[in-house]
């Protein structure tokens, strides 16, 4: 359902020039599975997920989400996914019901079907007590439930969660994780990024560890622990991060290397793909 192949993304930075945020990332994610993307802050997780949700364009490589290419058919991709992160906010001056209804309409749901769907979701997430409450008056837990409702209102086959529990208290965290598991049981394809090991252990059938924009390793957790001879995921994570840092330090002097990103040459140089362009007149 999600197929990512050699995905690259670089940004132009005033101080550092062109820097890679993501380099050569490849993985697959299947229906009825939660695929964990594990990495420290600034590893490139959010950039990868933003490319998959089509708000960023990849510099190279390609990604297919729900059968659609993220560059060629961005609208079809957006219609087939639900995206939620800890940073996606909700409108202060809209009630829970209005907000979910707004996005449902944007997803092109017929009013009657939308109403049916919303009743089911509001029951499932136990949101009926605050359906008329404005965003500004909601608690963090309520907001997170509204975000989940918004993410699944159009019943998408693919769900992308970018650190959805970040900054939440344990009670709300538990509810969110529980609902994600229930969604998996409904047969959804779920991509879940986090830097919390226990979440990966609890949720993910397969996991990829990403650091400095590069995928270090991918596979089933127990298989990875066996392969690297590590007692648990946390140790495996530190082991891979240390290994990657040592390799980078040997490759270039430390003074040239900024944290969390690798410097690259300008995109007009031949070994780098150029930015995608389209001629308005001629297309």
């Amino acid at each position: 359902m999600i197929h990512v192949e050699r995905l690259c993304k670089s940004f132009l930075d005033y101080q550092r020039g062109w820097v890679f945020a993501v380099r050569d990332v490849s993985f697959d994610c299947r229906p009825g599975e939660i695929f964990g993307l594990l990495g420290p802050n600034g590893a490139g997780k959010t950039t990868t997920l933003r490319i998959l949700s089509t708000v960023l364009k990849p510099t190279a490589g390609h990604a297919i989400v729900a059968g659609h290419d993220v560059v060629a058919e961005p609208q079809a991709v957006r219609s087939s996914i639900g995206y939620m992160s800890a940073s996606t906010g909700i409108y202060d001056r809209m009630s829970a019901w209005e907000l979910v209804e707004y996005f449902g309409r944007l997803y092109g749901l017929h009013p009657e079907r939308l109403r049916e769907r919303m009743e089911i979701i509001f029951d499932w997430l136990k949101m009926n007590d605050f359906r008329e409450t404005l965003g500004s008056k909601m608690s963090t837990g309520m907001k997170q439930k509204v975000s989940i409702a918004r993410t699944i209102v159009h019943d998408p086959p693919v769900l992308i969660f970018d650190e959805p529990t970040s900054g939440l208290d344990v009670l709300v965290q538990r509810v969110v994780l529980q609902k994600i598991l229930e969604l998996r049981d409904m047969g959804k394809t779920i991509l879940f990024s986090t830097h919390a090991m226990h979440e990966v252990q609890k949720l993910c059938q397969r996991v990829a560890i990403i650091h400095q924009g590069e995928l270090q390793v991918a596979g089933e957790p127990h298989e990875l622990l066996k392969r690297f001879d590590q007692p648990d995921l946390e140790e495996l994570f530190f082991h891979l991060v240390d290994r990657a840092d040592q390799e980078t330090a040997m490759a270039e002097p430390a003074s040239d290397r900024p944290a969390g990103a690798r410097k690259i040459r300008s995109p007009d140089q031949p070994d780098l793909p150029s930015l995608p362009t389209e001629d308005e007149t001629d297309s």
């Binding site: 708000v55 219609s79 996606t88 906010g89 996005f103 944007l106 300008s266 001629d279 001629d282």
Partner: protein, 722 residues
């Protein structure tokens, strides 16, 4: 474009704004409260002003003649016959003082004016009765303080009063000596005002309304734009919206329509509230005024605009509000937070204020140049329409509306572009350092310039040309060949330097390639085919917007000072062909094409090309230059080379410069009448103009439709010139 998505977004944004107390206050409450409070303040201030009489100390009042009294019988005011019945109602109180007392000292008099105990001091000389008897000239000094407005006004009123007194004395003397009335007053001046009632009524509003309309429209657009763009980023809802299936254009249009609605509502409500306050003020003014003429003036001056004017205002407001809304949305999306968004307000107002202040100057009249200036054109047209000047209004309606709609459209495109840019939508805080930024500019140069660099290049060309013109004006140098050549040099310099410094491929930027041979053929065919049309269009424009005789004279003077025809061709055809092409179809067009919006880039570069001609020579050249700019832009884009454009530009200008010569040649050969209906002005027969239109259209369509890169493989194989 999904209209249902657009409507859903628009509906939500409007609902959001209606629920926002700040927006409601700015749109509804503020205008409803502001003007009545201001009006009440004005009435109170006027009333307070009326109660304070001006004190005039008359030193030596005892010397005034009795037969022609200057003062009232009680001596505490002036003779009522000498007061102007149309004067305002501030009374002049007289304080008669003897010359023998302390008032005899000049210091005492000056001090009284300085500390405000007297508005003016009139000194009657002791020998006044004797001089009157002997019919000699008498000097009556009046002391006043020019920096104090009431004192200065009192002085002017005293002068008029003394004039009337003087006339009375002269009348008495002529009667006494039995002389005719015309002996002392050979000329009587009487002014007749031909202003219509609508003009008188419109005069006050025509100055205030355009100003207010623009300011309120801008204010009404700004706050919602910041809330809907920067606010949405700050609250974290922007990303959610971008991930929905709505396209960027739908999102921007939904937001833009909301902002525009707020802008129009703010402006209309402000005008409505102000108009209502005006009516109340006019009634109050009428009841306060004592004289019937004052009452009429107050009512006429503040009467509300007619229904027709009000409709014009709303009609013109819509494209203006669209322009402001698009600019505000594009600017607001740059900001990361509401706070940062507020910072953009000051520069926006600073740019708009000079443009709108022009309309407050009564001498500024709408002309073709002003009609092209954003904001000013609309405001001046509005002024003309409120005044009931429908002749000007009708003539300039399209020249104002078309550019305003075009500017609004371009601003909207810019806003949509901003929403496509990852670096704008996901901009993070960074410490700006000029040194690092300059280093980045050189280190991370791209093969082609950016759109921003293209606009900077155009601004540099404009500024440099303007400074050259100002320098010549200061030095008293008239227009001459050397100045024209220097002007061209200044057009060439910025694109050359910028291409070398800011791009990694100046050759690609300036399109220094050998094109396919057919483009040279097109470059020769186009100017020849266009010539009848260009001449006719120039003639039509001149009929509508005549060129002043002074300008014509100075133009022919430059031409006549040229030592030979070849020099004229060099200066007016070859130099502009090279310099202007390198700038406009080289650096600027390449920069505007940065995001591959070829159509917009060609149009925008042509508009810039036209605008430069307005600044450099005549605003009448705008149409021709823009039209040619479009063809030249298309030629440059299709041929991937500057050379055909240079040839085209050279031939086009050379045909104009040498027109007189070859028309003479044709006349000598007896062919002129076959081609021209007016050989003097180079006007062709209708048949040739129709042919010109046909052939040019065919050539243009060939370039536009058939010569697209996907149809012609060979365009990719262009060889570099250098």
């Amino acid at each position: 474009m999904s209209w249902s998505n657009l409507f859903v977004i628009f509906r939500r944004e409007v609902l959001d704004q209606v629920r926002d107390r700040r927006t409601l206050f700015m749109i509804l409450v503020f205008p409803i409260l502001l003007y009545p409070i201001l009006g009440y303040g004005i009435i109170q201030a006027t009333a307070a002003r009326e109660n304070k009489p001006r004190i005039v100390v008359v030193v030596g009042a005892e010397y005034l003649p009795i037969e022609e009294p200057l003062l009232s019988p009680g001596g505490d005011g002036f003779n009522s016959r000498l007061l102007d019945p149309l004067d305002d109602t501030i009374p002049l109180l007289v304080q008669p003082e003897s010359e023998q007392g302390s008032w005899g000292s000049p210091e005492r008099r000056a001090q009284a004016i300085r500390n405000g105990t007297a508005s003016a001091v009139m000194v009657i000389p002791p020998d006044l009765p004797r001089q009157f008897r002997e019919k000699n000239d008498v000097e009556i000094p009046i002391l006043f303080r020019s920096v104090d407005e009431p004192s200065q006004n009192t002085y002017f009123r005293l002068r008029e009063l003394l004039d009337r007194w003087k006339r009375g004395i002269v009348d008495a003397r002529t009667k006494k000596d039995n002389l005719p009335r015309g002996y002392a007053q050979p000329i009587q001046v009487r002014g007749h005002d031909v202003a219509t009632v609508q003009e008188v009524q419109g005069n006050t509003w025509s100055l205030i309304f355009p100003f207010l309309l623009v300011m309120m429209s801008l204010t009404g657009a700004f706050y919602p734009a910041v809330d809907l763009c920067a606010g949405e980023k700050e609250r974290g809802t922007m990303e959610t919206l971008l991930i929905s299936p709505a396209t960027r254009a739908e999102i921007v249009l939904g937001k833009f329509l909301t902002v525009m609605l707020a802008s129009v509502m703010t402006a209309v409500l402000n005008l409505f509230s102000m108009g209502l306050t005006g009516i109340v003020l006019a009634r109050n003014g009428a009841s306060l005024a004592m004289e019937p003429s004052q009452r009429a003036a107050a009512v006429a001056g503040l009467a509300p605009p007619t229904l027709q004017s009000a409709l014009w205002m709303v009609l013109l407001l819509i494209p203006l509000a669209a322009f402001f809304s698009a600019v505000c949305v594009a600017l607001a999306v740059l900001a990361r937070s509401m706070k940062e968004g507020q910072y953009y307000m000051t520069p926006l107002y600073l740019v708009c204020l000079p443009l709108i202040f022009l309309t407050l100057i009564p001498e500024t009249k709408l002309n073709l140049f002003y009609s092209l200036v954003p904001i000013t054109g609309v405001a001046l047209l509005l002024r003309a329409l409120i005044m009931g000047d429908y002749a000007t209004g009708g003539r300039f309606f399209l020249p104002v509306m078309v550019p305003t709609v075009v500017y609004a459209w371009m601003a909207l495109r810019w806003a949509i572009d901003q929403f496509q840019r990852e670096e704008v939508l996901f901009r993070e805080a960074e410490r700006f350092n000029v040194g690092v930024w300059l280093k980045h500019l050189v280190r991370d140069r791209q093969p082609m310039p950016t759109g921003g660099q293209a606009v900077l290049c155009f601004s540099l060309i404009l500024s440099a040309s303007w400074f050259l013109m100002e320098y010549m004006a200061i030095q008293g140098i008239g227009a001459n060949l050397a100045a024209v050549a220097a002007g061209q040099f200044l057009i060439l310099l910025p694109p050359l330097i910028m291409a070398m410094m800011l791009t990694s491929s100046p050759r690609r930027t300036l399109r220094l390639n050998w094109p396919a041979p057919r483009y040279f053929l097109l470059a020769i065919a186009f100017p020849v085919a266009l010539n009848p049309l260009v001449n006719q269009l120039g003639h039509l424009v001149e009929q509508w917007f005549p060129i002043s005789s002074i300008i014509k004279q100075s133009l022919s003077q430059i031409m006549s000072e040229s030592p030979s025809l070849w020099v004229s061709v060099g200066v007016f055809a070859l130099l502009p062909a090279i310099c202007e092409e390198l700038a406009f179809r080289g650096f600027i067009l390449s920069g505007l094409e940065y995001r591959r919006r070829t159509r917009s880039a060609i149009f925008l570069s042509a508009l810039m090309f036209g605008f430069l001609h307005v600044l450099l020579s005549l605003f009448q050249q705008l149409f021709n230059a823009t039209l040619l700019g479009i063809v030249l832009g298309l030629l440059a884009v299709r041929s991937h080379s500057l050379l055909p454009g240079i040839l085209f530009h050279f031939l086009n200008n050379a045909l104009a410069v040498t027109q007189g010569h070859w028309v003479h040649g044709l006349e000598a050969a007896g062919l002129a009448s076959w081609l021209y209906r007016n050989p003097e002005e180079g006007l062709y027969h209708g048949f040739w103009i129709a042919m010109s239109l046909l052939v040019s259209t065919v050539l243009f369509l060939y370039l536009w439709k058939l010569d697209r890169p996907d149809r012609t493989a060979e365009t990719h194989g262009v060889a570099p010139v250098f």
